[in-house]
Structures are given as structure tokens and as C-alpha cells.
Symmetry: C2
Subunit: 466 residues, 2 copies
Amino acid sequence: MSFLNELQQLLGDAGLVRGDDLSAFETDWRKRYVGRALAVARPADTAQVAAVVRLCAAYGVTIVPQGGNTGLVGGSTPDDSGEQLVLSLTRMNRIRAIDEANLTMTVEAGCVLQALQEAAEARRLLLPLSLAAEGSCMIGGNLATNAGGTQVLRYGNARELCLGLEVVTAQGEVWNGLSGLRKDNTGYDLRDLFVGSEGTLGIITAATLKLYPEPRARMTALASVPTLEAAVELLGLARQRAGSGLTGFEVMNAFSLGLVRKHYPQQRQPLEASPWTVLLELSDSEDEQHARTVFEGLLEAALEAGLVTDAAVAESQAQSNALWHLRESIPLAQSEEGLNIKHDIALPVSAIPAFVAETDALLEAGFPGMRLVDFGHLGDGNLHYNVQAPEGVPAAEFLAKNEPAINSIVYDQVAKYAGSISAEHGIGRLKREELAQRKDPVALGLMQAIKKALDPQGLMNPNRVI
Amino acid sequence: MSFLNELQQLLGDAGLVRGDDLSAFETDWRKRYVGRALAVARPADTAQVAAVVRLCAAYGVTIVPQGGNTGLVGGSTPDDSGEQLVLSLTRMNRIRAIDEANLTMTVEAGCVLQALQEAAEARRLLLPLSLAAEGSCMIGGNLATNAGGTQVLRYGNARELCLGLEVVTAQGEVWNGLSGLRKDNTGYDLRDLFVGSEGTLGIITAATLKLYPEPRARMTALASVPTLEAAVELLGLARQRAGSGLTGFEVMNAFSLGLVRKHYPQQRQPLEASPWTVLLELSDSEDEQHARTVFEGLLEAALEAGLVTDAAVAESQAQSNALWHLRESIPLAQSEEGLNIKHDIALPVSAIPAFVAETDALLEAGFPGMRLVDFGHLGDGNLHYNVQAPEGVPAAEFLAKNEPAINSIVYDQVAKYAGSISAEHGIGRLKREELAQRKDPVALGLMQAIKKALDPQGLMNPNRVI
């Protein structure tokens, strides 16, 4: 009996998608990669996932695990061989348990992130993973890529929110590591090995996540700062005065907000243009009044110290949302302006001003007139440092001609300042070669040894990451 | 040339300890294991550590890495073969860098934890790893065992405080992973694999740690609670009202505090004996007055809800210290009372009341008169659940006769409630066989595959953990 027939028998009609219309599974989110799948398996439960993997192992069929398919590095779509099986977790979307006293929820990989946020909210709890794709990304993919987002400053990446995993190994065995424990020193940290491994070591089928009490109030402010140095000092001051109440600290350069002004003129910008603008968010376990008092004290001190030249504190939840909306409109506004060359980089916070000053100058010297969309999660040292073609120059042409040279300048600078070429998006296919060249060779050797040990047949998402 | 001669040449006189007086390196903290070392290597820097490992690999000599040698599971002392090399990191005790704007410090493995706390404090920063042995334990060992302690509720275990590592692999290569980044998704999480691996995969030689702004005020309160259920509810209420300001939540049963009363009568206990007593700590980024207001609101609400029957808020830092001192005196008081059978277990917080009620009853039925020293970090679900011989029964005799049977009851109950048999102390030699029997077999298989992949010669701390 052939592989596909056995698969059909295993999964039934609901569990196997074949034929011509697989394009939704074959094309990545940014439409950079269009592949061709052998078929799409849609198992209904963990036992079926394990059975599919065992079948693939027997036939030597390689597997591309897929959740919401919103990844930005081409990690969740098949290559163009037509020989890879896409294993979609979309049918595994149950919340298995919520334990309010333990502040945990146990959920299947195919749950949409926003559905989980809402399930927590319904119990006045907070699942603090939040990112642009939350309406369609799935928690299995969030964990497989160690997603970041807007709440990392206080709550950490997806990794830090995960207490336990259920994983189907490359041998088709099920590791039940669904722990709701805050402390467990019984052997190697397998959980964190699978988190962030982008489906190359096994398939995450379920997870136990941390929850938090919902803060009583959230409040946002916008502050004009004269320099990036001032922004870094403001961050230090905010951490001192607000402690872990500081849940957001985003930075935007003038060009970023200018693009929003140009393409979305209906969005009110409460402050005049400034070299840099910071969005601060406080979460408060007391009330709005208390949050406002902390904000006012902080901003007064910052104005006095010359770190801030102007500021606006949101007067309502609606105003807070509008300030966040400004920040979130930057990725869309830059698309309106045309294609650009994206860099999702991380640096020690202390190194950011020097990195940006130097790299800006190098790029301006090499590519006069190029425009920098520079914004990101300054509190985490994570910049989205994107290079837009000069005014009037066709973007596609500029990219085709200059992308490798620009990447090379930016990534050399990242290396100089001990940064990362992928802060939150992962490696996938997009940065695999870059990683092979730039990662510490001892680290690469360790990674290869682990890959070979856990997936000796090379079945799991081959040619991604390493 | 023989191994020891080559080692001598490599390390010089200061770097090699031989001869009769190695007992400080050969005996574990609790004096359960007395081994015999071939010699003790004391390399001065990372390059020497790597050279020692390469030499050991060439001669097939196995290595036992050792820091402050304060571990509780026999993981850092040699066996009695006389053939193992103890590799002591004590000479590598430099603070390499403190980056205040990035809130990080980069330190060598042999730094004593308390020295690091003090170096942070001198800059008004906080290194929030704190545990009983902090005056002599070393950060390399803290990371190799993923140490816990009293601040886990807010700041996490040693793992969560570590951003990057420098590691000498089992092949004697140096992996430079000393990252000060909060976000870095460039491949497998090697850091967390070495953290908690107890020296069985490689040797941690340096680390970059997270720092925090020092809180402006810390305040402690003691509360009498009628039941463990009430303690769990109080925890929920405290997390709601204090958010991440809640930095400590310890529980003690009446017998624990009774032992302190008996053996240290000079220590004032501000509350009358109660079935359970909770120690709460708030850290506040504003001031003492604010912390007091939050405490008073919380305790009033808890009194009203019947969760608390009596409470005392510390009036000064000295009083706060005295309350912590009560809690910290329990381990000493139980030693005064005689040997007991220790269990360092973790459970989902929600399962603790049922676990304790059931396990208490099982033990009482099997071992009438036995006495339970039950205390621990309730906020983390971590109990030190220790069984003391009945009044008047010689402890050594009771232990010799009953330890395996008692362990079996306790660990079966831990399994029933999806807990951990080692919350914060690790596995070492003490719990290795227990782990082999009780850990999920798929997880054990993954661990063995990783061990074999990274240390194929089996040189690194053999027969520990797995």
C-alpha cells in the first residue's frame, strides 16, 4: 500500500487534504516562498500526530509542521519538491484545562493565540503573549518560534510563558511534559530545547502556559525624546520608578511616524514630530489614578532632566489604544510606501545609540538618500531596522540591487556590538545561510549534534534553521 | 609523560592540588558522600579549563566540576575510585563587566553569589538570586543546578536570570555564548540546556546575568491562616492586589515554627501558634508608605474573607529581617531536633492542599507519631516536606528502617498530583535512581540521546543525573 493510501486510512477524509488547492498551506505569510506539498495531514489528536510521524519515518517522507502559517522567515511551508508532507495542527484547537489557582492553562498547538487571550480574559486572567498576528497565529507556532511581541519587557518571550510541553518526537513517540510546575529540576531542560527549534526536532502538540492576574489598569503615554541616548536613559528611569509596572517601552524614529502621518493622516498624532518618540505603557495592580500618578512623576522627572521634550498621557482606554495603534501602524505604513529591507535585530540596550549612529552613517554613505524605518521594542533591545529606497527610486529595483550589500553592513554592525540577527522572528529558510556564516562555530557544532541525535533520519522540517 | 605530570605542566603549582588533604573537595555539603579524587585542578581562566578538558579526553580521565561545593544531592564530589579529576572553578572569580544601562553583569563561574549580590547593590541594582548558601555557593554551580531560593515567585529560578553562558564543551572547545540580549532567536536554546545539566554536558565558565533596579522598599508580614486552602486563596488575592510587587510567599506548618520556638526560644514570634503561617514580602518601587498601604489593604480583605485569622506587618527593616530569620531558622531547628527524611518537591499550587492532606494521612497511618516539618515556597508550589522520627524514637534508627518506604509513599503521591521529585536541588547522585524509575521514559530517552551526542566519551560528571 502506498504512503498516501496509508495516510488516508489513518486520518480519514477530514484529516487529509490532497489535490490541487493546497496553496494556502504552500505559500508563506510574506509570500516570499511558494512551495508544493505532497499532501496536507490534519490530525485530530496527539495519537494521530504520532502515527503520522511513524508512517513518515517508515516511508522516509519529510515533514513540515504548520500552525497559523504566519511566520516571517519561511519556516512553515514546504519546499518545491512536491515530496514534503505539511502537518497542519489546525484541528487540535482545544483548551484542555484552565487552573485558576495555579495560574496556568493547558492548550493544544492549534489554538489561535487570540482565542487563548480571550479565554484567559473571561476569567479575569491575562495571557501576556501579544503580537501583530494574534488573530490567526497559533500557539504551537508561537512556541516553536519563541515569539516575542509587545509584552516581553515585563513577561518575557513565549519561552518564559511556557511551563510544559507535549511533543511528538521524530521517532513518533509522545513526550508528555505538560507540567504546571514553576520549579522542576529533574534533568535536562527539554522544554526549552523544543521551544524555538522551529519544528526541526519534533512537533509541539500541546503546552501549559503561565497566566497572570489581569492588571486593574493599563495606561499609555507618548514622549518626545531628543536622542536615542535620552531614550535609553528614560528607560532606566522608568524601570527605577515603575519597577515591573512598566510593561511597554517602544521607540519610533521620526521617519517611521512620518510614514504613518503620510499614509494614515486620519490618525491623530498628539505630539509634534521629534527625532525619536517613545511609547510607554504602565500596568497597575491598583487603579488608573495610581498609574497616572506614577506616570506624571516619571515624566516630570524626565522633563526636568532633559530626557523628554514633550509628553502626552492618555486620558482614557480609548486614547491608550489610539497611541498603540500609531505604533502598530508603522509596519503597514512602510508597506504603503513600498517594499523595504527588513532587519529584526537585537542589541544590548546600552549599545543601541552607538549602533544606530554608526550604521545610519555607513548606510547613508553607501546608499545616499536611503530612508530608515527604525522602530521597535527598545526595552528589550529589539529594533526593526528597515531600509527603504530613496524617495523616487523604485523599491523593487533598489532591493534587487542592494539587499545583500545592505544586509552585510547591518549584520557586520550587529556582530560588532554583540547583537543578534534574529531577535524574535527566528531563522527558518530566510536566514539559514546567514546563520551558518555568522553563528559561533562551536554553537553550530552543538546544534548539529543535537539535531542528529534527536532526528537522525532528518525528517523534521529539513533545511530550516541548520 | 603521565597525565598528572602534563596537568602539572599545564596549570603550574597554583593550579593543581594533589596529595593527602583533598577532603574539602571530596566530601559533599551534607556529608552523605565521601569520595577520593585523583587530583584537584584549579584552572585560572577559560583557556586553561579547555586545555584540562582536552587533556582528560586524551587520557580518558573523567571530570567532576565543582564550585562552592554546597550542593545537596552529591553532584559535585568525586566517587571513591580515586580516578576522577575534580575541576574546581574557585580561581575564576572575576566580575568581567557590569552594564548598568543594559542591566546585566558578566561574571566568572567561581564568583561567590553573595559577592555578586553586593557588587550589584553597590550600584543600586539587584541580583535577585538568593538562597541559604549564598555566602559560599558559586554562580557556576547555581546555574549548573538551576538554583531556586526565596525570590523565584517574582524573578524566576537561576535559569530565568541568565541571559548568556560561556561553556567549555566535553571536547574542550569554548562556546562563547555570553550574550546580554533579552531576545535572540538564532537557533537552539543551548543556554538552557547547560543550565541545570549539573556538569554532565560541559563546564560553565562564565555567565551574563540579569539585574534589576533595586526596589525602594521591601516589607514583610506574617499571617496566621487556618488551612492550606486558605493559604492558596491568600496567594491568589495577594497576586491580584500586589501584582509583581509580591516577591515572597512562604508557608510554614505549626510543627516547623514550633521547632524554632523550642530550639531558638530567644527568637520572638509575633503571632500565636496557628495550623499554618504565611510570610509575605512586598517589594515596592515607590516607598515604604506605599508598601504598607498595599499590605494593609490586602490583609484587611483577607481577614474579612476569613483567609487570615491574625497578622503582623513589620514596622522596620529590622523587623522584616527578623521575620525572614524565623523562616530561615526552620532548616537549622530541624537539624537540632535530629536527622529527618527530606523531600524537595514541587506541585501545581492548586494541588497542594489535597496532596498534603492525603500524604499526611498515609504517613500517619504507616508511621504513627511521625512528625512533619512542612514548609516552603508556596508561591512557587515548592514544599520542603520532611519527615521527622516520632518523639523519643532515635532518628538514625527510624531513617535506616523507614526511609525507602517513606520516599516511596511521598513520591507516589507526587506522581499522582503531577509534581516533581526535585523542585530546586537537582538530581546528582542522590536521586538518580529515583529519576530513572519515575521520569517519563520518552524524556529519559531524549536526555540520553543528548548526553551521548554532546559527551560521547562520557567524561563529564558521569553517573550523575542520568
